[in-house]
Symmetry: C2
Subunit: 174 residues, 2 copies
DNA sequence: CGCCGATAGTTTAATTCTAAAATAATCGCT
DNA sequence: AGCGATTATTTTAGAATTAAACTATCGGCG
């Protein structure tokens, strides 16, 4: 409680835990920034590749990727949720993908508010072609990590995702 | 090294390593998607908060954050590099921050091409006020993780960043 | 049935972002 | 000194993004 911070005071005992430290949160901030920079580094590189080699944008690719796993198609809201982007954003991307012939869009039979989108044959063909190369790029970002590190990272990120979700939820219902 | 992937084919022996496996790269792809979703989850939440509580945008906040650590100010290119966003993007954000009185911008004395930006008193004051709360938000995303997990995650993300950089560099010079 | 709150999408306005071309200044050489 | 390559930034055109207001539909309940 009375503890000075980041200078690593050696006299901190085992009871002086995270919660008991003063609220500087320097460690967590650094962790977040590190996470963000990994993410941007990779995302930017993927975007550049996709543009350069296939003349295709990353958000468009992301939508096709969601659809490739969903044979029955997906409702727009579901796509929005999975990609974690706003609903309004999906509308125009979908419009473009319909126009370019990669997907179809139909009103759900059960619910006339809902729009279901599906890959066309062309869409699936082109997505698969890109996805093959895309998988190779991705794997290379991790190629200097051991399998053990990769497994551990998987675990930790799963925990982080859970932790974050919980935190966000908790704040919405006090 | 010997780890089977998610279908757990028990017959894969110890020699069937990453390199020897067929090039599906499923594991790496999942890892990347998990990293991305942690990142977006947190980033979106921070953005919402900053907007709701301070009526300030995340990219603007990010620029102030860089400047708060740099008393001598920063050259635009350096800001662009650190935030990993394109140079053209910085130009207009800086313009806005100058207009709102949070930063100043002067031509570098040594190099008339370069523009140096610095926090104004107002900018520093307002940034610090926001940063205090911001630090608290961030810490909460990690609050369900042990200190050990946080440390491990720090390590692994550092390795990943290195690995990724190496991969990206290697591709540019064959 | 008929209203009412919730849900699915779209629209709108404004911001953020990128890639690529243009501008301007510096640096390294000869 | 001056030329050519490099570097720092700006401009441009267009895509992606969000929040918030709006429209249409659904589902439940009196």
């Amino acid at each position: 409680m009375t503890t000075p911070e980041e200078q690593s005071p050696l006299w901190i005992d085992a009871e002086t835990t995270v919660a008991a430290r003063p609220a500087d949160h320097k460690m967590e901030l650094r962790l977040w920034l590190r996470l963000l920079s990994c993410s941007r580094l990779i995302e930017n590189d993927i975007r550049r590749h996709l543009n350069a080699e296939f003349d295709f944008s990353l958000p468009r690719f992301d939508i096709l990727a969601q659809l490739d796993r969903a044979d029955a198609g997906l409702v727009l809201g579901e796509v929005s949720k999975r990609l974690m982007v706003s609903a309004g954003n999906i509308t125009s991307l979908v419009e473009g993908l319909v126009k370019s012939g990669h997907i179809t869009r139909t009103t759900s039979s059960g619910d006339r508010r809902a729009q279901v989108i599906r890959l066309t044959d062309k869409g699936r063909r082109e997505f698969r072609r890109m996805a093959k190369v895309h998988g190779d790029w991705i794997a290379r970002y991790f190629e200097h990590l051991s399998q053990k590190d990769i497994d551990k990272l998987m675990d930790l990120l799963a925990s982080l995702k859970d932790s974050t979700r919980e935190t966000i939820l908790a704040r919405q219902q006090p």
